[in-house]
């Protein structure tokens, strides 16, 4: 048994929020660079070049990659041999977000009441927190910061159990055709397949946290998305998406939930193990 004071989560979250708002993860950057090589349209190449310039300035000048410094999602894998003490986990995480956003002059983008008053909380809290318990004595944090230009492009479809891969492909193309241009392409696309409706949406987000190599079907999906000619910034071109990743989970005999979560080119992910 290992004892951990939850206040340490605040420190890690604060550091991660700062880092990933300024700097792209290495794997993300290298995937974008690989895609840029394949862009043949002149306007698309120009957009890629603006993107790389912007990433460089953000890192050097410590200015956010995007003015939409997003809503923070935190995925915690807690080893069950860890005894957590101190303030509640949620409080600790929100404390970290609050510290990062207020001290770094990131934009406060969260409103307390989504319907009536929409009053800004002014510290970018609360964040969305998912927890999972497993073996071991460690706590793993994955964090995803996402703006709503791309979050608004999320889609869920409850397919009948007899649906095929082809049907899922057509759904993906329909969603990207309709919503892709608004989501700041070139895109990173996460798909959650199976589980329940809510779980499929969570899987779609998790699919992009580790960016494992694409399998054959995912590469095929990417190719089809890139045939849509939406292109960087939606101005036409070969690269509408950089990556497509799926995550699957068992589901019910009567259904086949499919969730699509689209990210802009600045996929702001980070992780830490405590």
């Amino acid at each position: 048994m290992r004892t951990l004071n939850t206040i340490i989560l605040a420190d890690y979250i604060e550091k991660l929020c700062r880092e990933i708002n300024y700097k792209l993860n290495k794997r993300v950057l290298s995937l974008i660079e690989e895609s840029a090589q394949k862009e043949s349209s002149s306007i698309g190449r120009e957009v890629f070049s603006q993107m790389f310039t912007s990433y460089k300035i953000a890192e050097e000048e410590k200015t956010p990659l995007c003015q939409d410094t997003g809503m923070v999602s935190v995925f915690l894998d807690i080893g069950q041999e860890v005894l957590l003490e101190g303030i509640p986990i949620e409080e600790a995480i929100n404390m970290g977000v609050r510290r990062a956003y207020t001290s770094s002059f990131f934009r406060s983008s969260i409103v307390r009441d989504p319907i009536a008053k929409r009053e800004n909380t002014m510290d970018n809290t609360p964040s969305i927190i998912h927890t999972r318990f497993g073996k071991g004595e460690e706590v793993k944090i994955d964090i995803l910061i996402k703006g709503f230009g791309s979050e608004n492009a999320t889609a869920l479809k409850m397919f009948p159990p007899t649906a095929t891969r082809k049907d899922i492909e057509e759904f993906l193309l329909e969603v990207v055709r309709e919503k892709g241009p608004n989501a700041c392409p070139p895109l990173f696309i996460g798909m959650g397949i199976g589980g329940t409706a809510d779980y499929a949406l969570k899987l779609a987000k998790e699919a992009l946290l580790d960016l494992k190599p694409m399998d054959e079907w995912e590469a095929h999906l990417l190719e089809r998305v890139n045939s849509l000619n939406i292109g960087p910034a939606g101005l036409g071109g070969d690269i509408t998406a950089i990556y497509v990743k799926t995550r699957v989970f068992p589901t019910h005999i009567a259904g086949l939930p499919v969730a699509i979560n689209i990210n802009c080119h600045i996929l702001r992910i980070g992780s830490a193990v405590i």
Partner: protein
């Protein structure tokens, strides 16, 4: 084609711009987004005065980050234009002639653009660290209570954008 343009744009300047052209904009624009649009349109519909002059104006859909101490502007970039679609035709009919945003517009907006010979420009999202270089100054000018969603005045200098819908209603 590439054009260096100074705002406000005269009708003949707007007419020569075609889809896919690159422009570099200099001059003052309003920075405003969802809630400010809603309020302005409500005021117009009630026949009440509005806090900004719309005639020949340019709107940039934006909600910037706060500048760091000692700096004039924070990261700046476009937000999704389609959310402003329900409000845009009435703003165009009241004088807005240039719009900067990202993504597509609906048919009503395209029709209003054609009718009033307005122009819709896009600039990529997610390049806000780069775009801030072309913004000299930013000031909150109305609806202060909305915080990042207030109306701002931005001074642009050679701000890069692409023509996405031209005065003929042609779009990318």
């Amino acid at each position: 084609m590439e054009y260096h343009l100074t705002l406000p744009l005269k009708e003949e300047e707007r007419l020569k711009l075609k889809v896919g052209d690159k422009v570099f904009l200099t001059g003052e624009v309003y920075g405003m987004r969802d809630q400010a649009h809603k309020r302005i349109v409500e005021l117009i519909e009630k026949g009440k005065p509005i806090p900004i002059e719309l005639s020949d104006s340019c709107i940039f859909y934006v909600g910037p980050t706060e500048p760091k101490p000692g700096e004039k502007v924070g990261s700046i970039g476009p937000t999704t234009s389609s959310r402003m679609d329900p409000f845009t035709p009435i703003l165009i009919s009241n004088g807005v002639r240039v719009i900067i945003g990202k993504g597509r517009r609906n048919r009503d907006v395209i029709e209003a653009i054609k009718r009033y010979k307005a122009i819709y420009l896009v600039t990529p999202g997610g390049i806000s660290a780069y775009l801030r270089r072309f913004v000299l100054e930013i000031k909150m000018i109305a609806f202060q209570d909305l915080g990042p969603e207030a109306i701002y005045s931005l001074k642009l200098k050679d701000f890069p954008a692409f023509v996405s819908i031209d005065t003929g209603g042609n779009s990318l």
